[in-house]
Amino acid sequence: MTNPRTLVADGFKQAALGAAALVALAPTVFMIVTALKPQSEYMVNKVGLPREPVLEHFRAVLGSPEFFRWMGNSALLVTGTVLLSTAVAALAAYAIARMEFRGRLTLLALCTALMAVPPVVMVVPLFVLYTQIGLISSYHGAILIYAALVTPFSVYLLTTFFRTIPAEMFEAAVLDGAGDFQILTRIVLPLALPALLTLVIVNALWVWNDLLIAVIFLQDDAKRTLMAGIAVFQGRYNNQIPLTMAGMAVASAPMIILYIIFQRQFVRGLMAGAVK
């Protein structure tokens, strides 16, 4: 059935995709391979595989308490932001999708507009405000900023999803005597689980990967996030490239592992979150 011409054409297409995949993978491969080389070997062998792989760099990174502190700080900010923004967004989205009140559409339009405001624009007034009320280098201060930056998109996504839930489900629940809050927590949220998972991934990834807010609002050494820590780490070990790469491999491991497990949700989430 397949004629030789299609076969050749398919071969070219596969080769093109293979080349693109190679470019996409190269930095990750370089990072891991280099981390396994002794310092002396990297000086003479920058491209090839390690002759005798060593784990000393990984051991050094995993043995340093600061790396885990940075990760812990990032995890704390991610958890706080995701919990706060999901709760706030779920309540608001439920009201916007299911209740009649004045300003409903204005609120939704406002959220859609705020989605596209670049974070850097908000930095100056917030910095002055936070200096004034003493919230610089505080976790809750940073969580409030992160939450405000990711919540508009969350409201938008959840409202869209809540509107797709058939009205009969609500009518049945009302007949059973359920109140709005019960309907939200017992019926709507369980149904919205895929959308919620997508949302958690987008928001978590956004906070975890952020550098701008982190370097401005968490300047205290003890409060430093992983991404801000990386900037310090690479400057400190400027010439110890295998060690630096081991640090980067450890720092990227959580996201790569999550990506492999939740690939579908990651792709869906990042596509949805592209607007931000």
Binding site: V47, A95, V123, P125, I241, F266
Partner: protein
């Protein structure tokens, strides 16, 4: 009670957004007309703006952001090509898709640190180029002021193309396949099918992605530049961008008034782009 209930549900949202955005947007305008020392200062009219607009470094930063816009056609072309290749759904395409999306999963600071080492003058990339006898291409990617910004551009293309590919592919997979099938039966080759049938139907998503790219290039490249340029937009000022200009004015020089003036200008430009995004999205939905 029932009339108040909706407001109770949206109150947390209004409070949160009000706290972070509400006063901030107003105060940003206010600060841009003041000489702020610490948290407040005297009104000085347009002086901050005049100062900024007369400073060569500001214009250089703006120029760099504009130069980054040049990458967008390449970015869209590459994303379109990979998406169309994936759409053929040849054997193993889901694996290719997973690998091609990886750049977008990795955090920008991490990838910037890795790339910075790969592109050192005596680094692995140049070593491979020399091995291929392409010595003339073995440039000082990070250390030369003439080249550094192009390297930043390359890194942005490398990462954002992953997003473009997935966005375009999602659109392709949602298209009605009967047209493509008909063309295939008529004997149209891959290129003809792509150019005459698929790409015209993707106009909406291409426009949408273009606007996202413009927003990214003008206001979301801080993390790339901060790492590759050693926190200072280096070498020299060759990778200085607007975001870094605001960051420097705010935290290093403690001139919030100046930073606010630049923020206001960036905000006004962003508003225009956001409006464009709405228009484009509405058209895509129709």
């Amino acid at each position: 009670m029932t009339r108040l209930k909706p407001y109770l549900y949206v109150a947390p949202l209004v409070l949160l957004l009000g706290f972070v955005f509400g006063t901030s947007l107003v105060r940003m305008f206010e600060f841009s007309f003041k000489m702020i020392r610490g948290v407040d200062g005297p009104w000085i009219g347009w002086r901050n703006y005049r100062l900024v607009l007369n400073q060569p470094l500001f214009w250089e930063s703006v120029g760099h952001n504009l130069q980054l816009l040049l990458a967008i056609p390449i970015l869209i072309g590459l994303s379109l090509l990979t998406a169309l290749l994936l759409y053929e759904r040849l054997r193993g395409w889901t694996l290719w898709r997973a690998v091609l999306f990886l750049p977008y999963v990795l955090a920008i600071p991490i990838i910037a640190v890795v790339m910075k080492q790969m592109f050192q003058f005596n680094g692995p990339v140049n070593e491979v180029l020399r091995w291929l006898s392409l010595d003339f291409m073995a440039l000082d990617w990070i250390g030369s002021p003439d080249i550094a910004l192009w390297t930043v551009m390359g890194l942005i293309v490398w990462r954002e193309a992953a997003l473009g590919t997935i966005l375009f592919l999602a659109r392709l997979l949602s298209l009605d396949e009967s047209l493509v099938e008909a063309a295939r039966i008529e004997g149209a080759n891959w290129w003809q099918r792509a150019w005459h049938i698929l790409i015209p139907q993707m106009r909406g998503v291409i426009e949408f992605f273009s606007v996202i790219c413009v927003i990214t290039m003008l206001s979301a490249v801080f993390a790339y530049v901060y790492i590759l340029g050693g926190g200072r937009g280096g070498p020299g000022t060759s990778t200085m961008v607007i975001e870094l200009y605001i960051y420097n004015a705010l935290t290093r020089q403690s001139l919030p008034g100046i930073a606010a003036a630049v923020s206001v200008m960036l905000f006004v430009v962003s508003l225009g782009l956001i409006y464009l995004l709405f228009v484009v999205r509405r058209r895509q939905d129709d």
